[in-house]
């Protein structure tokens, strides 16, 4: 059987890759993809702990709620990205500084 630590290592690697993507990508949609990776790594942790702790199915319920919130986040964030595209005709995050004081 796979020990708990291996799930945690995989999840930590996935999280770090997501952080790297959020910090370095210029395209807003690509940043959203990296955020989805971070959500997934958190979910792996929740489900792994719910498996390795006796009778703790709550972790899976939380993972389900995380998936719901990820869906909301994707919908609203893409709507914002589309309004941004309509205004400035690109979605490069470091160039979209119209609100900077």
């Amino acid at each position: 059987m796979i020990p708990l630590e291996h799930y945690l290592y995989i999840s930590a690697a996935l999280f770090s890759l997501g952080v790297f993507g959020v910090l370095t990508r210029r395209n807003a949609v690509n940043v959203l993809m990296s955020i989805e990776l971070i959500f997934n790594s958190a979910n792996i942790n929740l489900v792994a702990f719910s498996r390795f702790v006796e009778g703790a199915l709550g972790g899976q319920v939380f993972a389900l709620l995380v998936i719901v919130i990820a869906a909301c986040e994707a919908a609203v964030a893409l709507a914002i990205v589309m309004s941004l595209y309509r205004v400035v005709k690109h979605v490069n995050l470091d160039d979209a500084a119209e609100l900077k004081g």
């Binding site: 993507g21 997934n40 498996r51 006796e54 199915l57 709620l65 909301c72 994707a74 709507a79 589309m82």
Partner: protein
């Protein structure tokens, strides 16, 4: 023998997930990144199957691959000019980003190694959909209701945000 094959498949899937996640964050082509994300999501669903979370594995495939990824692909297509065949995404501040991500990874690995989890495999819990359903309408009723209201608000907010200005009908 069987457990060795299952472990081999597990680590193969882990390599697939991390490889496609790496492509998502360093790949140059946006559409290729989106399809690499499909592989990563499927791999995470395989992890859920290994952890005995059958309902969650199904939900992962249906919602992430069927819903969120389609939405992201629409986002890629609609925020680029349609004749722009090579949808590129540049990278900025690569060295500080890699440094921070590496630090985060090192910190997480240090924590994982230094804590004695004392975790025992609780065994395959069997089909989980019934117990998850009972928990959702029992112990977790309030989060469940809040999530449904949040979905409604997100739906209305997204529709309002992408509406063209001046078209009131």
């Amino acid at each position: 023998m069987e457990s060795m094959a299952s472990a081999a498949i597990f680590y193969g899937v882990a390599a697939l997930v991390l490889g496609s996640a790496l492509y998502v964050v360093v790949g140059r082509n946006l559409v290729h990144s989106a399809f690499a994300l499909v592989a990563a999501f499927f791999g995470v669903a395989v992890f859920y199957v290994y952890l005995g979370a059958d309902f969650l594995a199904g939900a992962q495939v249906l919602i992430y691959v069927g819903g969120i990824l389609t939405l992201l692909l629409f986002g890629v297509m609609l925020t680029n000019r349609i004749y722009n065949l090579n949808l590129r995404s540049g990278a900025i501040q690569v060295v500080p980003g890699a440094l921070s991500a590496g630090l985060v990874f090192a910190l997480l690995v240090w924590i994982i190694q230094s804590v004695d989890w004392g975790a025992m495999d609780a065994g395959d819990p069997g089909p989980t959909s019934e117990s998850i359903g009972r928990l959702l309408v029992g112990d977790y009723l309030l989060p469940f209701e809040i999530a449904s209201v949040l979905l409604l608000i997100a739906l209305m907010g997204a529709a309002m945000l992408v509406r063209r200005r001046g078209s009131r009908s």
